[in-house]
């Protein structure tokens, strides 16, 4: 027998009303504006856009405000909104070689064309609380320097020229779109990269760390990390040509990894690749390490049973919206399910007691 239970509407309404009141906080303090969030909590906004898989700063800021700063809740809101949008089309692949770089570093080569540019980074800070920020109206102006507008070629392209680096060839394959078709395993690298790019930063960080600690060891160097603005080009069918429809910030990371070589190929470096919306370098770096670990089969490496090599394990658990949806649903009423468990255990125990007496 299935028993439906109704009730709790008033309690739910009042709970949401109290939540809204608490979200607003002390009313003697000014209400936080979306501009303040998108201008001053930029990295939070970037994380919500990348894991929400929708590049829209205003919406990400709204989601952060609505969720009281719970970023996974904010990501959920953005993902839910995303599904209501009409998909017009697919862009041309972004050309990251033409990126207007805020930051561009290489941990493998010191002298690179275009140079090492640290950009707006937390690296090399002392991680001490800065009490100067308690003072209001801080508006520091950073120095500028004369520059030349030369192209900044990818560092690893130089290794390509010597054939020391595995060349990433364009085989004109159509990518899988995991928002359009469910993933089935084994899957392709295109599906993995899409899933990783919107995957949970914490989960990817932990897994990437596990590869560094020896689970699927593939000692990675950061060949290049760049953060900057790229154009998104779209073919406009009404016009028959392409225009730039958007400018977005991307973080790109290429790692250089050792490769033993095989019977048919001499030893060569291989690459892990990370490309993520916004200024999100921890995530892009983790993505590159995991991408490389998951390529073991394609590169003829041993499967050591490490979690980071198990594509089904990684891809089906990296999405924090799927994960939190399933995890959190167990808070919701399961009275009837549990009632049946209770009946069952009572019966088993009663039977066991009878048997013990015999």
């Amino acid at each position: 027998m299935y028993v439906a239970v109704k009730g709790g509407e008033v309690a739910i309404d009042n709970a949401h009303s109290w939540m809204s009141e608490i979200r607003r906080g002390d009313t003697s303090i000014p209400n936080i504006t979306l501009d303040q969030i998108s201008e001053q909590l930029t990295l939070g906004v970037d994380r919500v856009m990348s894991e929400g898989s929708l590049y829209d700063k205003d919406l990400a800021a709204l989601a952060i405000k609505q969720s009281r700063g719970d970023l996974i809740e904010a990501i959920f809101l953005l993902r839910a909104y995303r599904t209501t949008l009409t998909r017009f089309s697919y862009s041309k692949p972004v050309n990251t070689a033409n990126m207007t770089c805020l930051r561009r570093i290489s941990a493998t080569f010191k002298d690179i064309p275009g140079g090492q540019k640290l950009g707006p980074t937390f690296d090399y800070t002392h991680r001490l609380l800065d009490f100067k920020l308690l003072a209001e109206n801080e508006a520091p102006i950073s120095p500028t320097k004369k520059y030349n507008d030369n192209k900044m070629p990818h560092v690893l392209s130089f290794l390509n020229q010597e054939d020391l680096m595995q060349n990433e060839k364009d085989n004109n394959l159509d990518p899988i779109d995991i928002t359009r078709e469910p993933i089935s395993y084994p899957t392709s690298r295109s599906a993995r990269l899409q899933a990783l790019s919107r995957g949970d930063e914490g989960f990817l960080l932990g897994l990437a760390y596990s590869t560094q600690r020896g689970y699927a060891r593939n000692h990675a160097f950061v060949g290049e990390l760049r953060i900057g603005i790229v154009d998104i080009e779209l073919y406009i069918p009404e016009l028959g040509f392409e225009i730039n429809v958007a400018e977005i910030i991307l973080t790109e990371c290429e790692t250089v990894n050792q490769f033993q070589g095989s019977k048919i190929e001499p030893p060569q470096f291989t690459r892990g690749y990370g490309l993520v919306f916004g200024q999100t370098e921890r995530k892009a770096l983790a993505m590159a390490l995991i991408d490389r670990a998951l390529r073991w089969k394609e590169l003829g490496e041993d499967y050591s049973g490490a979690p980071a090599q198990d594509e089904e394990f990684v891809i089906s658990h990296c999405d924090n919206i799927q994960a939190t949806g399933f995890l959190e649903h167990i808070k919701l009423p399961h009275y009837v399910d549990f009632q049946s468990e209770l009946e069952l255990i009572r019966k088993i125990r009663a039977d066991a007691k009878v048997n013990m007496k015999r």
């Binding site: 898989s53 692949p93 770089c101 060839k169 990518p175 009404e238 429809v245």
Partner: protein, 146 residues
Amino acid sequence: MIEKRKFWMSLLATSNQSDLLNLWEQKKIRVNYIWLRTPEIGSIMAQGRMGVTGDKFNIGEVTITRCSLKLNCGTIGHSYVQGRSKKKAEISALCDALMQTKMSKEINKNIIIPLEKIKKDNKRKILSKAEATKVDFFTLVRGESD
């Protein structure tokens, strides 16, 4: 002509909404038109390449608003712009249409050129600040040399 149109459409699409609205309002341009497609908010899927040069993959979506309209003289204007502003899409499509008429000089002078300047200034600001964070290496020589 196609190259010029690509240029102004790209500039309008990627402009800051408030910059475009301010420039448009300042000129108080009044034109009559009919909608061919009213502004519609949607998204496009941005793609990248594996390891920079390899096969394509999907990164994530970007919000886009598009519309099409026809001026009384019959000229058609289109827009596909970043974000969710219907007003930005409308003004962009009007500018696209007007840039194909005798008003092109006026639109170019009062809207396209100022937008281009804003864009160039932004880029210059980023590149000059990035340049100031460029690392100058110097090597410390260790040990004796003869």
